[in-house]
């Protein structure tokens, strides 16, 4: 088949659009989404994180997060030697704009992205006086913005510092795991933009999800396991100094 230059110029953009569509996946229509078929979590391979802050920026854009507040952020840890209990940590503006150059003093540096752990036994939902925050049947901790009193008890109860009070709405706010996206078959904004694949959305109820193979074959941890919150953000490569 002979293709003229003119035809090629028309076909290339069309092919690019088609390829982008394939990469993005076919969005599942929301009405067909069955909550009980899913149990969402996330895999965080911190050996891959480069601290670029793309995830923080994407989250803020996608979810209209006010400046100074964070649904997700990135921390940089610096551990010099054996005193792993006292690391030096920084997170300038939540790591949104990346990080300044680290000190060259022989220690190790690494990045730890954080977000709501969507705990199955979440302390924040336990304390809400009106049940405005809840664990959805698909395992996402959500806040009903039209019902929240703004008492801030949930903010106090979250051990990971993932909640804040939105100054515009005066209600509790947090990561929704981009619920508006994942229920349409898309991934979260932070996973979407992560250039290294550090973050991977995981459906723990889907037997074909690659997370199962990963969890079976790798050493993973959750944050603050002693608090028994049944966190569903699994960290690979987590250092003992991380809080």
């Amino acid at each position: 088949m002979n293709i003229t230059r003119r035809q090629l110029l028309i076909l290339l953009p069309a092919a690019a659009i088609a390829w982008e569509h394939i990469l993005a996946g076919t969005p599942e229509a929301s009405p067909n989404y069955n909550m009980t078929d899913h149990w969402w979590g996330m895999l965080m391979d911190i050996t891959r994180c480069i601290g670029c802050g793309s995830c923080v920026r994407a989250c803020q854009l996608e979810n209209q997060v006010p400046d100074g507040y964070f649904r997700t952020w990135v921390e940089r840890y610096h551990v010099t030697d054996w005193e792993v209990e006292y690391p030096k940590v920084d997170s300038p503006d939540g790591g949104k704009g990346g990080f300044p150059t680290a000190k060259e003093d022989g220690g190790k540096n690494f990045f730890v992205p954080k977000l709501c752990n969507h705990c199955a036994d979440s302390p924040c939902t336990q304390v809400c006086p009106v049940g405005a925050t809840f664990v959805s049947p698909d395992g996402v901790v959500l806040v009903d913005q039209k019902y929240c009193l703004g008492c801030r008890y949930c903010v106090q109860a979250c051990p990971y510092g993932c909640r804040f009070i939105n100054p515009k709405t005066e209600t509790a706010n947090k990561c929704t795991l981009c619920y508006h996206r994942i229920t349409k078959g898309l991934t979260t904004a932070c996973c979407e933009v992560c250039p290294t694949g550090t973050r991977q959305l995981a459906d723990l109820k889907n037997p074909n999800d690659p997370i199962h193979e990963f969890l079976r074959t790798h050493s993973v941890q959750v944050l603050k396991p002693h608090l028994a919150t049944r966190a569903k953000v699994f960290y690979y490569g987590l250092d003992g100094s991380v809080r």
Partner: protein, 396 residues
């Protein structure tokens, strides 16, 4: 407004969530519970010596209880939705019970007990007054003008029963406030099974202290002699309760120091720096050790009435300052350190703001204004009582 941070805080932790108004809330409910428990001494435990403070204690409890929910309402992001706590309370939330515990204590215990105790006086005043006062007291009688011996005897029995129910209710009211803090496992400064017990005893301490001070103030304002037997007894109870409270707090402190868990280094640093003035100086030494020492003096030395009175006034004021500092250190202190245990933030209190200092001052003064009105409407003084009783007798 830039908030100074030392070390590392999770980014959402920098701003404090619970302000001075939340400090005020346990302080006010503590006064309520303590005042009620003092009143119950006379009613249930037959401690006749404290009788002159009985009605004053009940009215004080009511005045403070009426103001107690205001700091919470002012603090809520959506106060208009607070009624949802009654309609759809969340079973697993300690805070969800607030509305029910509050309403039970206000209407099921305090108002009912005051009404029963004053019923005879109310009926008498509804007959002896004219104009709006007559209408007001007539409304308060709730249509029952029966003040026969038998009727008053029933009032007395029912009042006694309510007080008996009221004692665990007072414990519930304040123990529950302690539980709100003590059950937060994310926060090691709060998370302790001792917290509700410490809150109950500190409540008793503050409630006894304020009733003692108010009684002495009322006597001074009314140019009456202070019943020293009464004040000595109240001070003795204050002393004993304070020792239990202090012992519990020290037990908590020693346990933390000895156990020295992962949070200890961070909390210890906070106590030695940001909380040094409010915790070590004001709460422990000025607000606890000093009043306990002063009260101990009155127990072991034979002092003149005047000296004892002076000591009681100083010890009472120091006690209230100490208990307020304790509430401050619990509420504010529990938010100054990061849950990562790697840093500290600062509490910036505004002056003219919804949750500012001015609001806190107004809310602190308001119960005294309400108490003044209550004292005018329902005078607890024995001589007025006797005048009213004689008026009733003549009316009969």
């Amino acid at each position: 407004m830039q908030i100074p941070v030392e070390g590392f805080m999770y980014p959402n932790e920098v701003e404090l969530q619970w302000s001075v108004l939340i400090v005020l809330y346990p302080f006010l409910t503590g006064l309520v519970a303590g005042a009620f428990i003092l009143a119950s001494l006379e009613r249930v435990f037959q401690v006749e010596a404290v009788k002159p403070t009985y009605r004053l204690a009940l009215l004080t409890a009511l005045a403070f209880l009426m103001v107690a929910p205001l700091p919470l309402q002012l603090h809520l992001g959506h106060p208009e939705r607070s009624f949802e706590m009654y309609l759809t309370p969340h079973g697993s939330s300690a805070m969800a019970m607030f509305g029910f515990v509050y309403l039970w204590y206000l209407l099921g215990v305090l108002v009912l007990e005051i009404w029963l105790d004053y019923r005879r006086d109310i009926v008498v005043m509804s007959q002896s007054n004219t104009g709006w006062k007559r209408l007001f007291y007539r409304a308060l009688t709730l249509g029952s003008n029966n003040i026969s011996e038998r009727s008053l005897h029933i009032d007395e029995r029912v009042g006694w029963l309510i007080t008996v129910i009221g004692i665990p209710s007072a414990f519930l009211l304040h123990g529950y406030v302690g539980f709100i803090f003590g059950s937060i496992k994310a926060n090691p400064w709060w998370s302790s099974p001792l917290m509700p017990v410490v809150f109950i005893f500190s409540a008793m301490v503050s409630g006894i202290a304020i009733v003692m001070l108010l009684y002495m103030l009322m006597c001074w304002l009314r140019r009456e002699a202070i019943d020293m037997r009464c004040v000595d007894t109240v001070a003795k109870y204050l002393f004993y309760t304070f020792i239990i409270d202090f012992s519990l707090e020290m037990l908590d402190l020693i346990h933390r120091i000895y156990e020295a868990d992962e949070s200890f280094r961070s909390l210890d640093f906070m106590v030695h720096t940001r909380l040094y003035l409010s915790q070590v100086v004001i709460q422990i030494f000025l607000g606890t050790v000093a009043p306990i020492g002063l009260l101990a003096l009155t127990q072991v030395l034979k002092l003149t009435d005047l000296r004892r009175k002076r000591i009681y006034v100083i010890a009472g004021c120091l006690t209230l300052i100490g208990i307020f500092a304790m509430r401050w250190n619990v509420v504010i202190g529990g938010q100054l350190f990061s849950k990562s245990f790697l840093g500290y933030t600062t509490y910036k209190m505004g002056f003219v703001a919804r949750e500012g200092l001015l609001t806190a001052i107004v809310l602190t003064i308001l119960p005294f204004v309400i108490l003044w009105v209550l004292l005018k409407l329902l005078p607890p003084w024995p001589e007025k009582h006797s005048v009213a009783t004689s008026a009733a007798a003549s009316a009969d």
